[in-house]
C-alpha cells in the first residue's frame, strides 16, 4: 500500500515540480534540479501521506465497511449483514434500550449547556475581563488553569469536593444555613446535572481566555471612539465587541455543537460505571475498551455522523452569516 501511494505521488509530480521565484538555470542543470526536487518532495511527503492515508482515510472507509458487517463466530470472520446494525441502532434509540436512548438524550443536552449557558456567560465575563476589572491579569492566569490540569485530577477535585461525608462543600452549605442538601452524585438526574455543572465550571475559564484574548485584539481606537461617543457598555458589548470577535464566538459555538458527539471524559470520570450518564462517544469508547461488537459500534458512530455532520455544517454556515468578517 505504501509503495502504491509513493508511486502515485511520483506520477503526479513527475514533470511538474517547479521551484517558485527562482531564476532559470541552464537547461542541463535544470533537469537535474527538477529531479532532485522531485525526489525531495516524494521522500518528504511520503510518511505524512501514508499516515494520513491509513489513519484518516482507511479508518473512515473501514468505519463504513464495518457498519455493514457482523462477526460470524462459525468462520471467525466479519461478514456482510446489510442494514441490520443500523436497524438495531435506531430500534435501541427508539426505546428498545433505555441506556442507548438516554445516552443520546444526554449527549444532545450538552448542546444547550455549552452553547446557551456556558458560551454567553463566557462572553459576558470576557468583556468585563477586558474592561480591566481589578486584578484581571491574575484572573486570566487562574481561569486558564482548568484547561491544562489533567482531567482525572480536575474531575476528582470536583467530585470529592461534593463528597457527602468528607468533602468541603456540604459543611460550607450547612454553615450557610442550607438544610436540604441533595445527594450530588447519587442518582439520575442529579448526577447528570452535576456533570453539566462541572462542564460549565471547568470550561468557562478556557472560553474566557480565548474570547477576552480576541476582544483585546480589537484596535484600541475603536473602543476609544465608542467611549467618546458615549456608547453604553451594553451597546459596546453587543454592537461592537461581539460583531468584531464573531469568528472566535462562532468557532466556540460550533465546537459546542460537536461536543454532542465528542463529550466522554466528564461522565467517564465523574460517574464511573454509571449507565445513566453515558454519552454517544462514551458508549463507543466503553464498547471498544471492553472488546464488544465493533461493527455495531461502527454503525452507531456512522449513524450519528450521518445525522450530525450535516447539522453541524449547516450551523457552521449559518454562524458565518450574522456579521461580515471584518479585517482589522
Amino acid at each position: 500500500m505504501s509503495i502504491r501511494l509513493e508511486n502515485a505521488v511520483t506520477a503526479e509530480n513527475e514533470y511538474t515540480a517547479e521551484q517558485p521565484n527562482s531564476e532559470k538555470p541552464p537547461r542541463g542543470h535544470r533537469l537535474n534540479r527538477k529531479k532532485r526536487k522531485l525526489i525531495f518532495i516524494v521522500v518528504m511527503l511520503a510518511l505524512p501521506l501514508i499516515q494520513l492515508f491509513i489513519f484518516w482515510f482507511l479508518v473512515n472507509v473501514n468505519t463504513i465497511i464495518m457498519a455493514f458487517q457482523e462477526f460470524d463466530w462459525s468462520s471467525g470472520k466479519y461478514i456482510f449483514n446489510g442494514f441490520d446494525n443500523f436497524i438495531r441502532v435506531f430500534r435501541e434509540i427508539g426505546g428498545e434500550s433505555a441506556v442507548t436512548r438516554r445516552a443520546v438524550i444526554n449527549s444532545v443536552l450538552y448542546f444547550p449547556v455549552t452553547c446557551f449557558i456556558s458560551l454567553p456567560l463566557s462572553i459576558l465575563f470576557s468583556y468585563f475581563l477586558y474592561k480591566k476589572v481589578p486584578g484581571s491579569a491574575a484572573f486570566r492566569v487562574i481561569f486558564f488553569l482548568p484547561s491544562i490540569i489533567p482531567v482525572a485530577v480536575l474531575t476528582m477535585t470536583f467530585s470529592f469536593s461534593f463528597d457527602a461525608t468528607l468533602g468541603f462543600v456540604n459543611p460550607i452549605l450547612r454553615a450557610l444555613g442550607v438544610d436540604h442538601i441533595p445527594s450530588w452524585f447519587g442518582q439520575y438526574p442529579n448526577n447528570q446535572i452535576m456533570i453539566f455543572a462541572y462542564c460549565i465550571w471547568a470550561g468557562l475559564g478556557t472560553n474566557i481566555v480565548l474570547i477576552s484574548g480576541a476582544i483585546s485584539r480589537i484596535p484600541v481606537e475603536i473602543m476609544e471612539y465608542s467611549k467618546l461617543e458615549g456608547v453604553s457598555k451594553a451597546r459596546e458589548l453587543f454592537q461592537i465587541a461581539i460583531p468584531l470577535v464573531w469568528p472566535t464566538i462562532s468557532t466556540t459555538f460550533v465546537l459546542g455543537c460537536t461536543s454532542v458527539f465528542t463529550v466522554m471524559m466528564q461522565p467517564l470520570m465523574l460517574t464511573p460505571g454509571s449507565s445513566d450518564t453515558q454519552t454517544i462517544a462514551l458508549m463507543i469508547y466503553n464498547g471498544v475498551l471492553n472488546g464488544r461488537n465493533l461493527p455495531y459500534l461502527s454503525a452507531f458512530g456512522l449513524a450519528m455522523s450521518v445525522i450530525g455532520v450535516p447539522i453541524i455544517l449547516v450551523i457552521k454556515w449559518a454562524m458565518g452569516k450574522p456579521f461580515a468578517d471584518v479585517e482589522y
Binding site: 505521488v9 503526479e12 509530480n13 515540480a17 521551484q19 517558485p20 521565484n21 527562482s22 526536487k37 525531495f40 518532495i41 518528504m44 511527503l45 510518511l47 505524512p48 494520513l52 479508518v59 473512515n60 473501514n62 468505519t63 464495518m66 468585563f128 474592561k131 486584578g135 487562574i142 486558564f144 491544562i148 489533567p150 482531567v151 482525572a152 485530577v153 476528582m156 477535585t157 469536593s161 468528607l166 468541603f168 459543611p171 475559564g205 478556557t206 480565548l210 474570547i211 484574548g213 480576541a214 467611549k227 467618546l228 461617543e229 469568528p247 460537536t258 454517544i280 462517544a281 463507543i284 469508547y285 471498544v288 475498551l289 465493533l294 459500534l297 458512530g301 450519528m304 450530525g308 455532520v309
Partner: protein, 313 residues
C-alpha cells in the same frame, strides 16, 4: 443616556477639537453618580470573578494541606491545619502503589517517553508537510491543502472502532510504537499554523543556499527548521501538554503501560476505595506538579498561542 446624547450631538460643531478635549468635555458632562455606579458594577464583577477564581484554586490548596495529614487526623477534622507533616504520604504513593505493576514513577517515565517522542514526531511530520506544501509547486499541492482543512473541519464521530480494528490488524495495540504512529499525524491543527509560518518565510535564504550547492534536504533541515524554532516551540509546548494529558488513546492502546493521565485515574479510584484520602490528595498534587512547572516556564507562550489558536481554529 442624557449626557451620551449631548456628547454625540455636540460632535459636528467641534470637529476641529482634539480627542483629548472631547474626553474632558464628556467627563465634565457626566453626572457624579454615574462614576460611582460604574465603579460599583466593576466591583460586583470583581466579586464574581474572585468567587470563581476561589472555586478553582481553593480545592487544590485544601488538598495540599490535607495531603500531609495522617488518615486519622484527616478524619478528625477536614478543616484543621496539619499538626504533623506526613511527607511519607508522598513517598508511599510514589513507591508503594502500583497500577498494572507500574508505579507512579514508572508512569512518569512512560508519559515522558510518549510525550517527548509523540511531540517530536508530530512536529516533524507537520513541519515537513507544511513546508513542502507551502514552498514547492507540484500538482496536487492545493488539493493537499484543501484536504488538510477538510480533515480539520469535518467532525467525525465514532471512528474509534474502525481505528481499533486497523491497529489490531497492524499488530500495533499494546505498544508504545503504535501510540506514537497514531500521534505522528502531519495534517492537523499544527499543520495549518506551520503552513502559515512557512508561507511567510522568505525563500531568499534557500536560493542562496542552493547556489552554494546545498541540497533541498539540507535547506529544510539546516536552514528552514532552525528558523522555525520559535514557531515550533510555541506549537510544541501546547501539543505536548495535550499529549501529556491525553487519556483516550493510551487507555485503549497501552492498557499494560499506563501513562500518568491514565494511571492516576485508576490510582485515585483505588485510593478512594481504600479511604486513603491524604494519599489520594498527595497523588493529585504529584500529578499537578509537572504541568504547573511547564505552565510557569512557558506561561506567556502557552496563553498567547492558545488565544491565537482560538482565533484561527
Amino acid at each position: 443616556m442624557n449626557e451620551n446624547m449631548i456628547a454625540s450631538n455636540a460632535r459636528p460643531e467641534d470637529g476641529i477639537r482634539s480627542a483629548e478635549e472631547r474626553i474632558i468635555d464628556a467627563e465634565k458632562l457626566k453626572k457624579p453618580h454615574r462614576k460611582i455606579t460604574k465603579d460599583w458594577a466593576l466591583w460586583v464583577v470583581f466579586a464574581v470573578f474572585f468567587l470563581y477564581a476561589v472555586t478553582l484554586v481553593f480545592p487544590f490548596v485544601w488538598m495540599l494541606f490535607n495531603s500531609v495529614k495522617s488518615n486519622q487526623e484527616y478524619f478528625q477534622n477536614i478543616w484543621a491545619f496539619p499538626q504533623s507533616f506526613h511527607i511519607e504520604n508522598y513517598t508511599n504513593v510514589l513507591l508503594n502503589y502500583e497500577v498494572h505493576n507500574v508505579s507512579l514513577i514508572g508512569m512518569f517515565g512512560i508519559s515522558i517517553i510518549v510525550t517527548i517522542c509523540g511531540t517530536v514526531l508530530s512536529l516533524l511530520m507537520s513541519s515537513i508537510a507544511a513546508y513542502v506544501i507551502s514552498k514547492y509547486k507540484f500538482i496536487g499541492r492545493n488539493a493537499l491543502y484543501a484536504l488538510a482543512v477538510f480533515v480539520m473541519a469535518v467532525p467525525v464521530a465514532g471512528t474509534l472502532p474502525a481505528q481499533y480494528n486497523i491497529m489490531q490488524t497492524l499488530h500495533l495495540t499494546n505498544s508504545i510504537v503504535g501510540v506514537l504512529i497514531l500521534y505522528a499525524s502531519g495534517f492537523g491543527f499544527n499543520f495549518l499554523i506551520l503552513y502559515g509560518f512557512f508561507k511567510n518565510l522568505s525563500w531568499e535564504y534557500a536560493e542562496a543556499a542552493l547556489i552554494d550547492g546545498c541540497s533541498d534536504f539540507g535547506i529544510f533541515f539546516r536552514i528552514m527548521l532552525p528558523m522555525a524554532k520559535p514557531a515550533l516551540i510555541a506549537v510544541g509546548v501546547i501539543h505536548a501538554i495535550g499529549l501529556w494529558n491525553d487519556y483516550v488513546t493510551p487507555s485503549i492502546y497501552l492498557p499494560r503501560l499506563p501513562t500518568l493521565a491514565v494511571g492516576v485515574n485508576l490510582l485515585l479510584s483505588e485510593l478512594r476505595g481504600q479511604s486513603a484520602y491524604p494519599e489520594m490528595f498527595a497523588t493529585m498534587i504529584i500529578a499537578l506538579i509537572p504541568i504547573l512547572v511547564v505552565f510557569i516556564c512557558f506561561q506567556k507562550t502557552i496563553m498567547e498561542n492558545t488565544v491565537a489558536g482560538g482565533l484561527k481554529g
